[in-house]
Subunit: 231 residues, 4 copies
């Protein structure tokens, strides 16, 4: 898979977290719906299932599969850790890093972004405020996702509740880095939220419960995809 | 799979860690060798591959597959965590807990042992000294593995270098708990090491580099299995 | 100070936490009130101020001063850690360990209890449920404090809301260890709560907001002390 | 104390770590020697004793006292944590943050730098490579100290062994921030090491064992001070 293709914009990444609705067989079901939307709309839709589900999901769908975390290690004597090479071989094309539910030491973020690059994995580093977005930009990941933790899972979209968080992040990050894709997350649950996020200057969204906990995940992803084409 | 069957003694559990030699396809190769030894000797041989390799290994071999770690969580809003339900559905029958390379808070060990029980996963809690073995015994896991961290990966077997660590652990644990299986680990690399471990009163061994880094993993596992039958 | 004297029962230990009301000069004020109650009632009242306040408090009052945490280290190349020797020299006679707001790895609890013993510091290990109390008892600390985290700071006393948590802890701990003092904490705010705790079989209480956030900390500590003598 | 005065350049900061030679009374002794050098040379010499020693040291000497770490908290229900207000009231004028022996999550570094600012404490954030130095610069601390962890305690000065680490850090940090003071650390043990560090463009050094473990700490600090005036 070509890196340029993989990073086609706008982009929607669905974080499956550890919800029951997105574990095991359920992970496969949502991934298939995401793939269907991609096929119908040609919009970039990535999925981030749990580590143990990477293999099955990646063998089944033809959309980009992200892992939710990798550890700052190279092959060796570690137990219970997530090795970049392992998830790569299992079929992942990228990884979330430093999600607000899995926050990392600065030196580990630095090391993991490098490990992702060396293993040809797309790095998507999460930042919980504009300052942290700027700090992260210096490490040159492929994607920065700005997510104010207080809005996660609320259904109150950051793009409406705190548009300045998004625009400040864009302004600060762009002082340093023109290439990195900037996503926004937290509370995204309607197509309008996605459209607003793009209008503010992002290249897409990182969503979780808005899709996974929806009655009809397919309908929601499709709504997001259509909204992202309106731009 | 019946729990009694699963815990047949003596037992050999091979921790794949994150070695290159036991990642992805290599994980599958070693797992098949372990399965072959089991078929030939009827000795219990379990394998503990990396999380992303659980699905493939569990779909391919008919020996017990352990995961190297699970997190103290139930389904919900967590990113990058390892959910018991997820590894169970992927085919794991048990989990290592508190390996010296993934040491946990006491309250998390307590919670994870309970989660393993609720999800019908065998719990194998590691302890790095006899006192900790006794503390862990109060939580009533299925297996306790005593591993002095200073001997891990050295090829110097705990059963020879520090037999009192093994016998003290057995004595302290048995004051509280007669059911739990007690394994010893660290430095096990020959059949004689395995035989000594069993003579000291353990029910088997937890090994890693002694098998994974061996020139001929099949020959070593077979040597271990034969030695464990000598008892 | 003689260890037997230091562990006189019943005992009241006041954890100052990091409340504004118990920082710096305020720490000194509350410590003086605790000392006054001790002088008037002869009941054991210990105080656990913040690390930076140990020196001043220990130089001013003649009651036992506990530190809230020490790290699992011996003298050496560590930055920002709390060394047992350091707090001992500053005047502490004991330390809290594994408070539910500072939970520790099992192997670190084991090491810190030993370090406390080697440095002649009273070890008070916190446990958030009866099982963990029993696990901790195997490590033979001087004191075990049972505190269900969900009641901390609520004013709902564990001794009333969950008496079985207290009696189960006592039963399990006493199977292993007859010497350790058992305290209960969380929600203790009246003399009656203290009396109930003692009737259930504990040797005292560990309190924080019930004293520190009270309008009149002196009156509350005195009420606790009188209640503990009723027994 | 005026902030401008406090940050007089060049500067020497001595991290006492948790060495026996710099604990308790020994901390006071070294602090007095540092003060004597300051009085004789007028060079800025700061000391960073252990948390429990802050009060005594700050009451005795008239040079800037740093704490080795503060936690990302405001006053409230925390046990065993280090509150900014507490160390400020104890006499500290600044804090080390993210030392390689106490590495922190990125979001905590961000929060601690803000807490330091709000409490009028000088913030000195450590970085273990140039990239991390640049990331840290976006958070606008008062001081950045670059310390390659592999050289800490070796006596091999970073200014000689890896001058490019120092110059790369300066180049990257100055792209973003002209005000922050840049120190270098790790392996500094002679006056020449200090002179080299300043020639490379730093504003001083962060030292530990080079002073604390020296036979004559006074002589070494004086040598450092004289070397720093040569510039």
């Amino acid at each position: 898979m070509d890196l340029g293709l993989k990073l086609q914009k706008p982009m929607i990444i669905v974080n499956f977290k550890t919800y029951q609705e997105s574990t095991g067989k359920n992970a496969l079901n949502i991934a298939k719906k995401a793939e269907k939307v991609h096929e119908e709309t040609d919009v970039f839709v990535g999925v981030a299932p749990q580590i143990a589900d990477i293999t099955t999901v990646a063998q089944t769908v033809k959309i980009p599969v992200f892992v939710q975390h990798i550890d700052p290690i190279t092959p060796g004597s570690f137990t219970g850790h997530v090795l970049a090479q392992s998830v790569k071989e299992a079929g992942a094309v990228g990884t979330l890093i430093n999600h607000s539910e899995k926050q990392l030491k600065l030196s580990d973020i630095d090391l993991i972004v490098k490990l992702a690059r060396e293993n040809d994995l797309i790095s998507c580093v999460c930042a919980n405020n504009p300052n942290i977005g700027m700090a992260v930009a210096t490490l040159e990941p492929d994607i920065i996702a700005i997510e104010p933790p207080e809005l996660i899972g609320t259904g109150i979209p950051v793009s409406k509740a705190k548009p300045s968080v998004v625009t400040d992040t864009i302004r600060l990050v762009r002082q340093l880095n023109n290439k990195v894709a900037i996503l926004c997350g937290a509370g995204i649950s309607t197509g309008e939220d996605v459209a607003t996020a793009l209008k503010l200057g992002t290249q897409g969204v990182l969503v979780a419960s808005g899709v996974v906990k929806a009655k009809d995940p397919y309908a929601i992803i499709r709504e997001f995809a259509h909204a992202s084409k309106r731009k």
